[in-house]
Amino acid sequence: MKQVQVAHIAKSFGNVEAVRDVTFEVDKGEIFGLLGPNGAGKTTTIRVMLDIFKPDAGTVSILGGPMSEEKKDLIGYMPEERGLYQDIPLERCLVYLATLKGLSANDARRRLGDYLDRFDLLPHKNKKVKELSKGMQQKAQIIAAILHDPELVIIDEPFTSLDPINTQLVKELMGELHDKGVTIIMSTHQMHQVEELSDRILLINEGKNVLYGNLNSIRRDYAGHAVMIKTNETIPDIPSIESIVQHNSATKLILTEGTSPQDVLGALVAEDITLDKFEIALPTLDEIFIKVVKEGSEENNKM
């Protein structure tokens, strides 16, 4: 079942086209990555999706139809930054936001205690939000988005201001939500975080779809002429290898034009090289993104 269906949406503010043409679907229970550089239109896309903005064009279906007051209680949303009352104690702020999502104050308080404990925020529950560090506020925002057990969670830049330990904590939490069948849409410009968590992605740039689909398929599609090998032996001169790049404990072999991975494997075996590992070198999302954006710019320049 599709939890979200966005079709050809566009949204402008005055003369600025924030979103030109974005289309995607999100399946129930998946972690979907909405990627793009700053200013690509991710946040506007989310706001249109959540009916905060009406689109100038296109359609949105969320949880099986248009947004309604009832559906609001089934959705958890974490805006990119801030989004909490600054001048009130943390606990009161989070309990209030949870009660607006249909939770009773007692239930909200009980669930909140567990999350605050888990995120090391329990000693700070009576502090005003503005007295907390950025990282603490970020964790509090994540709690606000999930406290009412939503079916669909949309989080905008979830790892901003988090140290590695808390980043890992949030990743674990998202994994748990995923296991419980919660659908998660994660918007970020930190591609490597998405690579770890997402099943499928949409990469947008300048308000338009650039890449969309299964993450592994995309990486395979963008896999260049390169293989990753692991060996303890010195690699001999093989004509089909253009260059050799050391890549942590492995070695990346860049192949010449017209050479297939099978050709190189055959050549290495023929040289009697013992291989611990041989695999097609898949590009990182960062590499794909840079390539796609460059190609896009070149096309624009040609036009």
Binding site: F13, F53, E69, R82, G83, I88, L97
Partner: protein, 424 residues
């Protein structure tokens, strides 16, 4: 409805947790009442001392003599101390008594007193202040004797009319007069400016409360937009629930604030009846308090909603002050007019302004405080204001859409009016 109640509850708790709000709304009137109570105690104790001194002074009233060549004085009024006026047959006798210190001064009533009205006061001192110290005793005696000893008639002439003034449609619950008021010979009477200032005072309370309540609301909406909490709120409740919750909660807070302030005024007037030299039985009529609260709620509904609408169009919290000023202009103008028209409360302009919803909350209260307003006028004004509240709340609720709230466009009066009109 449940979410509206939750919003109301949250806003009430938040406001009541702010020391500045609590102090202004409830602390100030409590301090005013306590302060006034203390002042009254001090003044009363001083008055007691003064009264004691006055009594001693009265006991010390020195005997004076008189020579009545006109043959007018037959009796000495019974309310005067005995032997305060000593009769002498001739001026020589009186002069001797003065020299011997038996009397402090003497009066000479000439034979043709009734024709000329001249009366002579002979005393040894030259101090101009003490010269008139006891002269009222002789005047009072002459009044009584000119009226053949009729003290009631003399009293009526002394204080002709005995007018019972009813300022501000105030209800006199007690009869009689207080000792020391204008009706008793021998005392002076102070004019009471407080009564005349009361309409302006009550109107100022309503004005301040509407202005502060509206300003809190504008600031709240601007700050929620600024902090992006608004996005979460819009994803949790409908624009109507948000607006209604906020307007109702701040209206309730303002209501209790006005109640506290009016209560303080009421208490001060009760405590300070004599301290402030108010007329006996002076009190604010309940009907005035009820109308005051009705027009406060209606005025608040109009202006707070308008402020919330302005807040919805204000992209940055830093612009709050200028936006607040623009929206409160009609209220300020009606406040200004009410100051001018308080002395002419039934002029055509005052009547029209008291019926017009944007100025009614202030003008009608001013007129009602002065009194003499026919019932249909406040009733009509309340009806018109109610219609205005419904229209504005409906328009602002439509403005409370994310599209407007998060647009980020700068605030301008033309955009505000256009959006308000489009939302109807």
């Amino acid at each position: 409805m449940k979410k509206t109640l939750q919003i109301i509850r949250y806003e009430l708790i938040s406001a009541l947790s702010r020391p500045s709000f609590v102090f202004f709304a409830f602390g100030v009137p409590i301090i005013a009442v306590l302060g006034f109570f203390g002042y009254t105690l001090i003044k009363n104790s001083q008055a007691t001392e003064k009264n004691t001194e006055q009594t001693q002074e009265e006991n010390k009233l020195n005997p004076e003599g008189y020579v009545d060549y006109a043959g007018l004085i037959k009796v000495i009024p019974s309310d005067l101390p005995t032997n305060i006026l000593v009769p002498y047959q001739t001026e020589a006798e009186a002069k001797d008594a003065l020299e011997l210190g038996e009397i402090e001064a003497y009066y000479l009533v000439p034979e043709d007193y009734l024709k000329d009205g001249d009366l002579y006061y002979i005393h040894p001192e030259t101090n101009p202040i003490s010269q008139d110290g006891q002269i009222w005793i002789m005047r009072w005696t002459l009044y009584v004797n000119l009226l053949d000893g009729d003290m009631q008639a003399a009293s009526n002439i002394w204080n002709p009319g005995n007018i019972n003034r009813r300022n501000l449609t105030l209800e006199r619950t007690g009869g009689g007069s207080l000792a020391g008021d204008c009706t008793t010979p021998g005392y002076t009477c102070e004019s009471n400016a407080l009564i005349q200032l009361l309409p302006i005072g009550i109107m100022a309370i309503i004005y301040i409360s509407i202005v502060t309540g509206g300003s809190y609301l504008l600031r709240l909406v601007s700050s929620e937009k600024d902090s992006r909490v608004m996005e979460l709120l819009l994803l949790s409740a409908s624009p109507n629930q948000l607006l209604n919750g906020k307007v109702i909660s701040y209206c309730l807070l303002g209501f209790f604030q006005v109640l506290a302030w009016l209560g303080a005024v009421f208490l001060i007037l009760r405590i300070g009846g004599t301290t402030l030299n108010l007329p006996p039985g002076f009190e604010i009529p309940i009907s005035l308090l009820v109308w005051g609260l009705v027009f406060y709620v209606l005025g608040y509904g109009i202006y707070a909603s308008m402020m919330a609408g302005a807040g919805a169009l204000t992209p940055k919290l830093s612009q709050y002050t200028s936006v607040y000023f623009v929206v409160s202009i009609p209220l300020f103008i009606s406040y200004f007019f009410s100051l001018i028209l308080a002395m002419r409360p039934h002029s055509p302009l005052a009547v029209v302004l008291s019926l017009f919803p944007l100025s009614a909350p202030i003008m009608m209260i001013t007129r009602l405080t002065v009194g003499g307003v026919p019932f249909w006028q406040p009733a009509l004004a309340a009806g018109l204001s109610l219609i205005m509240v419904v229209l504005i709340v409906r328009a602002v609720a439509r403005m409370f859409r994310a599209q407007v709230l998060l647009s980020g466009q700068p605030f301008s009066i033309s955009r505000y009016i256009k959006t308000l009109a489009k939302s109807q």
